[in-house]
Amino acid sequence: MGTQFPPFSSLIRGLDRPDKKERLLVKKAKNYKAQIGIAVVIVALIAIVGIRIPKFLSLENILNVIRQTSIVSLVSYGSAMVIIVKGIDLSVGGLIAFCAMVSGLMMKAGIPMAIAIAAGILAGAIMGLFSGIMVEKLEVPAFITTLVIGQVANGFALMLNGGNSIGGFSDAYVFIGNGKILGIPVSIYITLFFVVLSYLIMNRSKLGTHIYAYGGNAQVVRNQGISTAKINYFVFTFSGICAAVAGILLSAQMNTVHPAQGGNYQLDAVAACVIGGVNMAGGEGKVYNALLGALLIGFLRNALNLIGLHPYYQNLIVGVLIIAIVAFSMYKRHKKVELSKVY
């Protein structure tokens, strides 16, 4: 007896390190850190405000906030994908107005709802594809491409109906925005559908792997013989589709299409993505975390509203919070990072 043998695995060089499975687990836990952080912040926020204002915790209010944030979160899935390939999509605001205007006008012209909605989504997809072609073929930076495409889309939204808004849609259309199935608003189902869809694309398909790889290092992807055109076209088209769905949903919620309804959704979406841990330097971040980011902003605004804070102060607090959250995550993740460039 006496001498104890070291475990067998350590006798073979290399096996004393944690094995592959273990390393993957550690990596996964690290990846979940950001996500858990946001979830904790959301829960803490809900708890603190909930104790002071019981109304905040009512199921109705919570569902309502989720329903209201569904627009931003829908947009942010597309934006997250574009950010992952080192781009940015600023055309979203314009598309929200333009696509809703297309389907709204078609419905007013007596075309069936399903076809009108499909046409609106198609319009978004085409505009998105056009951004993708500009970025891929003409090598114009995504920032300026989508900025201008957004302006064109905004202009089209104004032009299509002479600058007027459209209102008074059919009950079926309003049901998409305000109706409930099993007590849960339809908007939430649509949001969830898109979360699952983008999860499947990004994390369970070959295309998703290519998208992450392209964001991480474009040259390597090109050298591997993977078509970068396919990636760019898909990402921007998907973002266009998300924006179109968001626009149609927004108009259904309000029962009107307003030519300026796009507002600042593109910036809110980027903020949601970044709060959700999508790295603006590309190649990193989970699309479904954008949902958490959007929810955080939504719940915060709602809480501030219920507390009775003036909207002026809300801007201030949301601004500080965006910087603080990102600063915190940057500080935790890599203490010495290069200055990140976007576009």
Binding site: I144, N154, M280, N315, L316, G319, K341
Partner: protein, 323 residues
Amino acid sequence: MEKTNRISAGERIRNFVKENGSFVIFMLICLLASCTIPRFASIKNFALILKQAAIPIIGCLGMTCVLMTGGIDLSLGYMIGLSSISIGLLIKTYEVPIALSICLTLLLGAAVGLINGLCVQKIRVPAFITTLGTGYVLLGVAQIISNGASINRLPQAFLILGKTKVLGKLNTTVLISLAFCAVFYYLLHCSTFGRRLSAFGLSEPTSRLSGIQTSRINISAYVICAVLASVCGMLLSIDVNCAQPTMGGGDYTFTIITGCVLGGVSLFGGVGSVPGVIFGMLTLKVINNCINLMNAPYYLGSAIQGIVILLDIILENIKNRKL
């Protein structure tokens, strides 16, 4: 030997177009407009375009500095609003002497720029997010200190600064803008600061290794941008004789970025020129002016403007690749 040294006429034209893309596009659009729109080619109209472009050009100069570092300043438009309302409050409500209140507003701009720069450089928050956040904050602050109300009828002594007529059709605002252009031409093209800025934008590690104080360069770019934004805010309030917290705003920022890009400033950093930016902004204003002169309904204007800018950017990119 001689043959290789001589540059043919075609080559010379090609080089000229390559280096002065925004000027060439500006001239093309002007030519096209003067052929098709009767009232376009008049001194009065050009004076109007110059007056309209004067203030945004100042903003463009600041934005160029930030874009050259590879960053971006989305808070510029909101800084314009904040400086507008603060100069209004200082001069009208608190009756602070004009010179002092201008200095205070410039200082406010510098402080905001410093915060932006420190966040970007020291905490490494991406510039896009930092300035997006500070933009929200500035808007909030501007609305809080003014209670959302604007201040009308600024004192005459303040208005004189920007509204005095010079050379018949122009006013002092154009002269101030020209002075800023001259200073920035020197700064960006003739001084070591411009060289360092460009080097920093092209490659941060390389410039650090070659002994440039990168953090100082980066932070100063944001400070310059915010200070110029507050100059813009003051001049805009003089222009409309009203100080508003919502002046400028997000759209103004994006107009200024578009002007910079049309002027050949690279969004990837390191490349930018003052004459280019001037003609980029002038191109935007000429497009606007043409749409107005054609009496197009307001709801057509935005779409036409967007499409023309799109074509302009495509042309610029084709030029960069083919020439």
